[in-house]
C-alpha cells in the first residue's frame, strides 16, 4: 500500500472525486493555477479547467454564499478557506444560511457542500494563521465538523464529506500536511462521518483528542507506558456528530478521562466532551474529567518562545496523564 503525506491524500481525493462526479467544483483563493497556498489543489486546475476550479476574489462570505447557491442548483461545491482564521467573514453564511437551510425550509432545500480550511498552530503563523476554530461551528445544529488526523482518514472522511447531503466543515491541521505520512489504499473506501477510532488500546486512562493532538496523545501514551500507565487514545475524527458511544465505552472501561485540544480551554470543544462524560458516565469515574488545552490568550503569539508556550505538546499531555493517574 503506498504511503502518502496528509496533503497528498487530500489532493488525490479531490481529484478522484472530481473525476467520479462532474457536479463537484472547487472554489477558493489561489486554488487554481497556483494550486492553493499549501498546494492542496495543485494540478486540479490543469486537469479540470476554469469552470470547475475557480480562483475567487478575496471574499470568504461570497465563497461560502455562492457555494450555497450552487449547491441549491445542482452542484457539489468544495470550497477552500485559505486559513481557518479567515473563515469569520463567512460565519453568517455558514451559520445563518448553510446550517439552517434544510431546517428552515422544512426539507425543501439541502446544501451539500464542503468547506475545507487549514487550521492550527506550531508553524510560526501567529494570531491569524494558527487558530483552531472548530468550537464556533460544532455548536451549530445543521453543520457537520470533521478533523482528520491521518492520510487514511483524510481520504475516507473527505469522500464521506463530499458525498454527504449537508454542509460539512473539514478542518486540516496545516502542520500535518507534510509531516504526517501513512498508508492510503487506492480503493474507493470511505470513513463514515460520526465514527471515532480507538487508536491505542489501554485500560487506565482515556485520552480523547483529534487532529494534531491525536498524534501527540499517542506519543504521550507511549511515554507513560514506560511508567506502567495504560492509556487508551480515542481519536474523535468527527466532532459533530460526536461518536458518544465510543467515548463513553472507553471512559466506562478506564474510569478516567483526559481531553486534549489545541484551542484555548474555556468554552472549547473539549468542554462539551467533558460535560457529556460527566453526565453520562459519572458512576464510572474514578477521578475528575480533566482537560489539557491552550491558554486563555486571544491567539497564538508569533515569537517561537511564545508559540512553544502556547502549544499543547506531548510533554504537557504526559503531565496531564500523570496527574490524573495519581487520583
Amino acid at each position: 500500500m503506498p504511503a502518502r503525506t496528509f496533503i497528498d491524500a487530500i489532493r488525490e481525493t479531490l481529484a478522484t472525486e472530481m473525476r467520479r462526479d462532474p457536479s463537484i467544483i472547487l472554489l477558493g483563493e489561489d486554488v487554481g493555477k497556483k494550486g492553493g497556498v499549501f498546494l492542496a489543489t495543485d494540478g486540479l486546475w490543469a486537469e479540470f479547467g476554469d469552470e470547475r476550479v475557480i480562483d475567487t476574489p478575496l471574499t470568504e462570505s461570497m465563497i461560502v454564499g455562492a457555494s450555497i447557491g450552487a449547491a441549491i442548483n445542482g452542484l457539489r461545491p468544495v470550497c477552500e478557506i485559505q486559513f481557518a482564521d479567515f473563515i469569520f467573514p463567512a460565519f453568517n453564511q455558514i451559520v445563518s444560511e448553510a446550517a439552517r437551510m434544510r431546517y428552515r425550509s422544512n426539507d425543501g432545500y439541502g446544501v451539500p457542500m464542503v468547506i475545507r480550511a487549514p487550521y492550527g498552530g506550531g508553524v510560526h503563523g501567529a494570531l491569524y494563521h494558527s487558530q483552531s476554530v472548530e468550537a464556533f461551528f460544532t455548536h451549530v445544529p445543521g453543520l457537520k465538523v470533521v478533523v482528520p488526523s491521518t492520510p487514511y482518514d483524510a481520504r475516507g472522511l473527505l469522500r464521506s464529506a463530499i458525498r454527504d447531503e449537508d454542509p460539512v466543515l473539514f478542518f486540516e491541521h496545516k502542520k500535518m500536511y507534510r509531516s504526517v505520512r501513512g498508508e492510503v489504499p487506492d480503493t474507493d473506501y470511505v470513513v463514515p462521518l460520526g465514527k471515532a477510532a480507538v487508536t491505542h488500546p489501554g485500560s487506565q486512562i482515556t485520552v480523547i483528542a483529534y487532529g494534531l493532538m491525536a498524534h501527540y496523545a499517542l506519543e504521550a501514551a507511549d511515554r507513560v507506558a514506560e511508567d506502567g500507565i495504560s492509556v487508551e487514545v480515542v481519536d474523535l475524527r468527527t466532532l459533530r456528530p460526536l461518536d458518544t458511544e465510543t467515548v463513553l465505552d472507553s471512559v466506562r472501561k478506564t474510569g478516567k478521562c483526559l481531553i486534549v485540544y489545541e484551542d484555548n480551554k474555556f468554552g472549547g470543544y473539549g468542554a462539551e466532551v467533558a460535560a457529556i462524560v460527566a453526565e453520562e458516565a459519572f458512576d464510572y469515574l474514578d477521578g475528575p474529567v480533566t482537560r489539557i488545552a491552550g491558554p486563555e490568550v486571544p491567539g497564538v503569539p508569533y515569537n517561537h518562545v511564545l508559540e512553544e508556550w502556547f502549544m499543547v505538546n506531548p510533554e504537557k499531555i504526559v503531565e496531564g496523564i500523570r496527574t490524573l493517574a495519581a487520583y
Partner: protein, 342 residues
C-alpha cells in the same frame, strides 16, 4: 409569458405583451394587495402575531417577476416579496398558511416567521432574516446555471437598506467578473425601518453603484409596472445571452410600517405619507389599463370577485390547518432526519 396578438392594444404591443398578460399582471398586483390587507386585519384581530408587508412594492414585483420564466429561472426573494412569490407560482393559500405558520405551510412548515417565503417547487429560495445573504445564493445559482448550461437566470431582490451589506459588494463583483446570468433588484422604498435612504446610501440611487462593477444600473419608477417589466426583460435577455448581470433599482413606496410592530408616524410625517400614496402602483396601473381599454368594467368585476374569493378561501383554509406537531420539530436538521412517520 409574453404572447402578442394582432387584436392587442397599443399599450400591450408597446412592451411586447398581450392584453391578457396585462390583465393577469394586474390580477397579481391586486391579489397581492388584497392578501396583504387581509394579513393586517388578521393581525389586528389577534389571529396572527406578526405581519411584514409588501404594500407599495407590488407593482414593481409583478412587473419584474413577469420577465422571468416561471419554473425554470430562480428568484431569491426577501420578506416583502408577496407579489413576487405569487407571480412565480405560490398560491394565496401558500401565503396565508405562512402567516399562520401551519404544519403544511410550504415555505417552512411553520418554522419561520411570516414573510420568510420559499418554495422548492417554484424555484423560490427560502428567505432568512439576516439581510442580503440571498444575493450570494442567487449568484451561486447563476454560477451553477452557467456551469451546467441550463439557460437559467437567477434574480435576488431586497431593499435599499439591505443593499449596503458587504455580501452585495462581494456578490456583484463576482457575478460581474464571470458574467453570470444574474439580475439584482433593489426595491427602494426610501426607508430601512426608520432610517431614510439619504442616511443609508451615499449616492442618489443604489443603481449609481453599478458602474463600479462594470455592469448596467437601471432606475425605474416602481409604480410603472410596465417600465419595471421592460427593465427586467432587458436584464434577463442580457443575462441569458451571457452578457452578465444588471442592477435594477425600482423606486417604490412603503405604504405601511416596517412591520406590525412598527409605528411609522414616529419618523414619517402625515404629509409625506399622504404624498407617497400617489406613488402606489395599484391605482396607477389600474388607471393605465383602463385608459388603454385593457381593463373593462366587466373584467374588473370578474377579477374583483375572483380575488375576494381567493382571499376568503385562503383565510378559511389557513385558519383550519393544524399547527406543526412538536414531535416533528427535530426533523430535517440533517438529510437523514426525515423521521419514519413522514
Amino acid at each position: 409569458m409574453a404572447t402578442t396578438r394582432g387584436s392587442d392594444t397599443s399599450l400591450a404591443a408597446s412592451v411586447g405583451l398581450s392584453d391578457a398578460d396585462l390583465v393577469e399582471m394586474y390580477r397579481y398586483v391586486a391579489l397581492a394587495r388584497a392578501l396583504d390587507e387581509r394579513m393586517w386585519i388578521l393581525n389586528r384581530a389577534g389571529r396572527i402575531p406578526f405581519v411584514i408587508s409588501g404594500q407599495g412594492h407590488e407593482g414593481a414585483q409583478v412587473g419584474i417577476a413577469w420577465a422571468f420564466q416561471r419554473g425554470h429561472d430562480w428568484i431569491a426573494p426577501f420578506y416583502r416579496s408577496i407579489a413576487t412569490c405569487l407571480t412565480f407560482g405560490m398560491s394565496a393559500r401558500d401565503i396565508l398558511t405562512a402567516q399562520y405558520a401551519t404544519a403544511n405551510d410550504p415555505s417552512s412548515g411553520g418554522r419561520q416567521m411570516p414573510g420568510h417565503y420559499g418554495s422548492r417547487a417554484q424555484n423560490l429560495v427560502s428567505v432568512s432574516s439576516p439581510v442580503a445573504t440571498q444575493l450570494l445564493h442567487a449568484v451561486g445559482i447563476a454560477l451553477a446555471a452557467k456551469i451546467r448550461k441550463t439557460g437559467q437566470v437567477a434574480m435576488a431582490s431586497m431593499g435599499e437598506g439591505s443593499s449596503n451589506q458587504g455580501d452585495v459588494h462581494e456578490g456583484l463583483n463576482f457575478a460581474a467578473i464571470h458574467k453570470l446570468p444574474f439580475v439584482f433588484v433593489v426595491e427602494n422604498n426610501g426607508y430601512a425601518i426608520s432610517v431614510p435612504a439619504a442616511r443609508q446610501v451615499s449616492v442618489p440611487n443604489v443603481a449609481d453603484r453599478a458602474p463600479g462593477y462594470g455592469i448596467p444600473g437601471v432606475v425605474v419608477d416602481g409604480a410603472d409596472v410596465l417600465a419595471c417589466y421592460v427593465a427586467a426583460r432587458d436584464a434577463v435577455a442580457r443575462a441569458r445571452a451571457g452578457d452578465g448581470p444588471t442592477l435594477i433599482e425600482a423606486k417604490v413606496t412603503r405604504l405601511t410600517g416596517h412591520s406590525s410592530d412598527d409605528q411609522q408616524t414616529k419618523y414619517r410625517s402625515e404629509e409625506e405619507l399622504a404624498t407617497e400614496r400617489a406613488r402606489d402602483a395599484v391605482p396607477v396601473f389600474r388607471a393605465q389599463l383602463r385608459d388603454a381599454g385593457v381593463l373593462t368594467d366587466e373584467i374588473e368585476a370578474r377579477l374583483s370577485s375572483e380575488i375576494k374569493a381567493a382571499v376568503e378561501d385562503a383565510t378559511d383554509y389557513a385558519e383550519a390547518q393544524p399547527d406543526p406537531d412538536p414531535a416533528t420539530a427535530m426533523r430535517h436538521v440533517y438529510a437523514d432526519d426525515a423521521g419514519s412517520s413522514d
